[in-house]
Symmetry: none
Subunit: 197 residues, 4 copies
């Protein structure tokens, strides 16, 4: 890892929470220099412009999340165990998630929607990726005879995202974890009632 790459990574990590809390428009270059202790010239030496920082921070935040989920899974688990593990991740990580400003996919999706097309594209990719992970588990489950063959994996994968993101939104806004937890229970119910053979 070159020095340049280290500095880039340092900037990204130091500002990840900032961007997630204040948004991309709301985070100024002065905020970035304050958070990193570096100068503006240095930021521009390592990134083309603020948009590039924003994009890399989003990718970092998104990957971090994805990795945390992946860390809970392993080869030996049944399909059901994997799905429940994912659901449980959102339950146990709620507190820290909350403190770091909520889900970066949700936050970025909303802010980027009508104003930052380059970011919106990345968010869409992240959601697709997330959905694909769930789809893979389900399809694997089908071939392992654990999941009902006839179900539309993609439909369920996205429905789980809907419930999780909607739950985070409401819990964050109302300052009440019950809404997210209810949504997670709903997902578990769906898994057991509609997916598991």
């Amino acid at each position: 890892m070159s020095k340049a790459e280290k500095t880039r990574q340092f900037i990204i990590e130091q500002t990840a929470e900032l961007f997630n809390k204040k948004g991309y428009a709301g985070t100024s270059l002065s905020d970035i220099t304050s958070a990193t202790g570096l100068t503006k010239g240095s930021i521009y030496g390592n990134f083309e412009n603020k948009d590039e920082v924003a994009k890399e921070v989003f990718l970092y935040n998104s990957k971090r999340l994805q990795q945390s989920v992946a860390d809970k899974l392993n080869r030996e688990m049944t399909c059901r165990e994997k799905l429940f593990s994912i659901v449980d991740f959102y339950r146990t990580s709620w507190e820290s998630n909350f403190l770091r400003g909520g889900c970066p996919l949700l936050n970025t999706a909303i802010e980027a929607d009508d104003t930052m097309p380059f970011l919106k594209k990345e968010v869409a990719k992240s959601f697709e990726n997330w959905a694909q992970k769930t789809i893979n588990i389900l399809e694997n489950g089908k071939s392992q005879n654990e999941i009902v063959e006839s179900i539309d994996s993609q439909k369920y994968a996205y429905q789980f995202i809907v419930l999780i993101e909607g739950g985070i939104l409401l819990s964050k806004t109302m300052n009440n974890k019950a809404h997210l937890f209810n949504a997670l229970e709903r997902i578990e119910k769906i898994i057991d009632n509609e997916l598991i053979k």
Copy 2:
């Protein structure tokens, strides 16, 4: 209605979509003067500051939405008809909702969360209001012997919001109405399977 009140209302209406699309921080006073044809002095003659415009625009957008839903309902409907009517509203209004920048509650909730406490409070109130409307329908349904008595109205009311907002989020981001429509179907399923006697 005094001229001042008319101008206030004019400013609010002319900038409602703007704020919903570009966000509160992202909408500048110059944007507001462009959209209204008025001068900065005139904006400040009618509002204390930009925050007040933001707040009033949110309240306007929120009430507009609420009214549109309410317009679909009437006294003669059964509880089930009312609930399905609400769900259907989000189906039929999807296109226009989409073009106006998505759900103002969702957008404002995310933007205001860590940065604009005065707006966050209003969003929370709006969500509560919305939930209460659904709760009232359900409680009414119980006393009319149409809804299972033992169910927790509040829990279901918020779960519907979770599904609708999560659905809008995903559909808007992925540019694919299927995600919202799936979520709406899920709500209908829940109504018929768990709530209606």
Copy 3:
């Protein structure tokens, strides 16, 4: 007194202290409307512009002061009694003078000096007027054989102003009435040692 004249007077009186404290540049038309309860249109209906208000307020403040001094004097007094009466006025009025923002001549002289020629002229006239009053007393004293004939009345009259204004300046700035009181004692000493036969 016509209604117009009454309103003019009302505006002047309500804003006299304001102008003396905040200065002419520092007092905005909004300050004036707040202090009077009138509208901007009404201010402009009664005065040509802010400068005219400023000028009239200065004249009002200046005359008020002059009148207060004059009220302490009467025909029967000796020259010495009159001079000591004037000096004593600044001693006894110190507190209220202080609370109203200090001497309007001093304040206006400084502010108007390099920026508001139309006001500077008025302040100079006021000082001349004040000096002339003292000169008259002294000249009268000469013809009454109470004051040394050879003294330069004008020189002493202005020296008294120097001591009074310098004293007010220092006492106000240091928040310590001793400086003014010392200056007043100096005047008394000069009267008895150099002027009175």
Copy 4:
């Protein structure tokens, strides 16, 4: 001296006369950029805000004055020579003082009095400093057996300031140096009649 410090100093020097003439409220950032040839961004890069510029300019003006007086004095002088030297400074510098907008202590004291507490504090300090210098000379004179032991040094020190500032005020306002010169003569008379043994 870093470039930043040089620019700070440059800004202070280029605007010192401006502030003294137009006052702190009356000097706008545009005035500052015009006087320096720099941009607003550059001013804010070197000062926290306009208040900080104002304060530094006052301190500069105040120190400049103090230094000019100090330059006239040296170790070999008797106490009387020193006091007369100070008095004479105000006589010989009258013209340039006048052209630069008058005494910065006087100007700032009046403007800051009811509106800018952070500046008022600095002016008070400057007056104290000035008085202390005179007190030191007098106390030294006492121990050298040149000054009457029983006199209250502080009282006389402040009385000299009263006469000088009152004199400047009147001379500036009436556009007539005689008032200041009279006051200076009065000081000299006091020195010889009441202080010198």
